[in-house]
Amino acid sequence: MKYLLTLAILLCAVLQAAQPVIPIEKYSLKNGMRVILSRDNAVPVVTIYMIFDVGARAEEKGRTGFAHLFEHMMFEGSAHAPKGTHFKMVESNGGTLNGSTHPDYTDYFEVLPANKLAVGLWLESDRMRSLDITAENLANQKEAVKQERRLSFDNRPYSTAIVDRWPQIAFENWHNSHSLIGSFEDLNAASVDDVAKFFKTHYAPNNAVMVIVGDIQIPAAKKLIEEYFGDIPSQPKPERPDLSEPADVKARSDVYHDQHARVPGVVIGYPGPVRHSPDYYALGMIDVALTGGPSSRFQLDLVKGKQSVIQYQSEIGWPFASATDYKNPGRYAMFLLYKPNFTSEQIVNQAQEEIAKIQNEGVDAKELERSRTLLRSERITALQSSLRRAQLLGQYEILDGKPELINTDLEKFLAVTSADMQAAAKQYLTPEHRAVLDILPAPPPPAPPQAPKESK
């Protein structure tokens, strides 16, 4: 008993030192908007982070890309901050801003000099209260989104294959497998009514979390928040789509001929774990062993040893999420670029052999300790930025209802054993459950047909 107690204290001491503790104050306004405040007066900077519980997986058939199109509409003006004001106010007060659409949430942020907090609150509350949804703004942003699609996907190697094709191979449920950036056809079909309905349903205060991190006075911040947001009415809770996938994930593969690619690539995916289950932490540590840092197995054995792979990336939730904002159902997936004197099949087999080594032998104590240290130093490095802290707090709240995971989740990764990793690798990372997408360079078509027509 005494021995156990000593061990427990020792363990506590070790874990306490794992990372700096982020202070958290969480409460709700009467209208249901959740607020998380975290004070840090080291630098005169504040981040305001709004996260809404709706993402691209909530889209309906015929409206692919809608969540993202709506994100654009959030910058088109509101009752007292007409079009252009949002950008102008943030920038002329010395700040930066952005928004982004994810499979399971949509987020917006302003990072400002700390004494400009009220400016950000005013802007965020005005658009939550009274977004200006007009046909003109919608038409304009449809064009902007199409331009974004051309720039970030259609004109770039690998991107179209990854955003449009990969989800179709990885998932069976339409909500998971449709294109998150959407088709031009569906974007054109979106109406002002669609936008208004989406806004009312999903951008109500009770579907939002506001996180404020930085050099703030907590009582003064609370007072401002109440004044700006307190009387925005709540709305009935939106329905959530059924995202479930068939329990048995079968092996699948496909080939995509990419007009812009000059170097072959391959995407490999396996079934993903339930978020925060023991398997989730074990797969997280497997990912570090395979691909984390310069001493990872892919680096030492594939880039160096076999000299086959050139670059790689991988994540639980790749390509649209990472381990911290992954929500099941999802995939543990990786993307590898390789030398043209190898075939995709060889590369897939080499990656599978690396996994087999973990299935058969686990990882030794030294490697496990290295992986833990890598994870810990990456986390501390990330926590330096108030924006990153706010994102983690907001995402843990939206996905788990537990912002305190920012202080405790790392410990769960650090507690994973070699046996845990071996077991998870055997259960999840098998060829029987594997999805593979080859992305091969294609010569440009001899006489390209006319560009797809766009209705104006």
Binding site: E91, S92, T96, A118, R150, N155
Partner: protein, 465 residues
């Protein structure tokens, strides 16, 4: 504590109607000034400059060892050599293999990477503060004893060629590659990457020679930022590891000869492109030029963010593009200013007109006082934000020490920005934003867009590399 907060909140709610007008933006105080933490400098007998900055916010230490050995020092027939040397420094030393280095770095929670900019070759990394001495061991070993193992050189050459192919499949890379080639002419600044031929010519010998010539202590600055073990103790750690390093004379940088700026129009043909990547710009100034601050502020008004003229017009009003901005390239011996946008093939001509029109307008008409004060606030605020993390603070100080900037550069930055007047911006715009002397590079499908470009000059069509 909690009670007190609740009481204040209650008062706040009661007073709501009187204290706040939600129809107007709130009044807020001016942006706070940046306070530079104290910088301590020392010089070892062998000429190595040591710069130390205490930053106690997180249990981390950042390291930068920077040499005046960027890609402008590449041999004439070997563009990209500095970059290859930088990448290979961490791939093996006399006593440590790549695996040894990689495992030791990971086990102390450190990163260490070599990188070459046009002017500077930097070994940069960070470490959990408790392992600072160990990272200094590895940094010193890499800087003094990197030996470019033959197998690593061969592998890096192969992989760099594939990476170059992958880069050249990106239109933005093709545009920048061509743009700098035209802009900087015979100066080594003309290369943003190696070529297939230069990679072929590189070998262990050329790398060793580059190392022996440029990676010497009197050509370097060692910067340490973070939870340091005290000044004397830190210096001792540095002296023990870098003290035996031999100094030696270093060759001068290449002469600052650059082509005259004149109107040129190059179309890089990329069949199948659904967009045209447009770059319009010319040579401008370095950070130490008297025109620098006026041009910095003017550039921000023209295309420095989501409230800038290019963004508002080309993206928001006309809907031609997702991205429309302008940027300053600030090297040690030269600078450039460039407007950049990517537009769909059908609107190349009006988009070009729009961008050229905005460039001319900067020279013709003084900027308004609201535009000016807004953009000064934007620059001052984002400067403050950019110093939030230890890595960004380290990069800023490293910039001052390696680019020949005055010691008060960071402290005075905001003051200098705030002192810029509209007539200075207009004068700088006449010199540097006039479209008559602009180099124009467009990357796109020539069969679709060549005709739309003809009215802007003699189109010189080239195949994408």
């Amino acid at each position: 504590m909690r009670k007190q907060a609740a009481a204040i909140l209650f008062t706040g709610t009661m007073l709501m109607a009187q204290t706040i007008d939600r129809t107007k933006p709130p009044e807020t105080p001016p942006i706070p000034a940046f306070k530079m933490p104290p910088v301590h400098e020392a010089k070892l007998p062998n000429g190595l400059s040591v710069v130390m900055l205490e930053d106690a916010r997180f249990p981390l230490v950042s390291v930068r060892l920077s040499f005046q050995a960027g890609s402008k020092f590449d041999p004439k027939d070997m563009p990209g050599l500095a970059g290859m040397v930088a990448g290979l420094l961490t791939q093996g030393t006399k006593t440590r293999s790549f695996r040894d280095l990689a495992e030791e770095l990971t086990s102390i929670g450190a990163t260490l990477n070599g990188n070459a900019s046009p002017d500077v070759l930097t070994l940069g990394g960070s470490v959990l503060a408790e392992n600072t001495a160990k990272l200094l061991d590895l940094t010193a070993d890499v800087a003094l004893n990197a030996n470019f193992p033959e197998n690593e050189v061969q592998l890096r050459k192969q992989n760099r060629k594939q990476a170059l192919l992958a880069q050249r499949s990106q239109p933005a890379f093709l545009a920048k590659e061509k743009f700098d080639e035209v802009l900087f002419g015979d100066h080594p600044y003309a290369y943003i990457a190696p070529t297939m031929e230069s990679i072929d010519r590189m070998d262990q010998k050329s790398m060793v020679q580059f190392r022996d010539t440029f990676l010497v202590p009197n050509n370097a600055v060692l910067l340490l930022v973070g939870q340091l073990p005290g000044r004397a103790e830190t210096l001792k750690l540095v002296q023990e590891r870098f003290g035996s390093w031999k100094e030696q004379p270093v060759p001068a940088a290449p002469a600052k000869n650059f082509p005259e700026s004149k109107r040129r129009l190059v179309l890089v043909d990329r069949p199948g492109s659904v967009q045209a990547d447009i770059h319009i710009g010319r040579l401008a100034v370095t950070r130490t030029d008297p025109d620098y601050y006026p041009l910095l502020v003017g550039n921000a008004i023209l295309g420095g963010g989501a409230s800038s003229r290019l963004f508002i017009d080309v993206r928001e009003k006309q809907g031609f593009a997702y991205d429309a901005h302008s940027e300053l390239d600030r090297r040690k011996d030269a600078g450039a200013v460039t407007a950049v946008t990517q537009v769909r093939n059908e609107v190349v001509e009006p988009a070009m007109e729009a961008v050229l029109g905005h460039l001319s307008a900067m020279a013709k008409t003084p900027v308004s006082s609201t535009e000016l004060s807004d953009v000064k606030n934007h620059i001052s605020g984002t400067f403050l934000l950019s110093l939030e993390t230890q890595a960004s603070l380290a990069d800023q100080v490293d910039l001052v020490k390696t680019m020949g900037l005055p010691n008060d550069y960071l402290e005075m930055f905001t003051t200098r920005v705030r002192s810029v007047e509209p007539n200075q911006i207009q004068a700088a715009a006449r010199k540097y934003l006039s479209p008559d002397q602009a180099t124009i590079v467009v990357v796109g499908d020539a069969s679709k867009i060549e005709r739309s470009l003809e009215k802007f000059g003699d189109v010189q069509v080239e195949k994408a590399k």
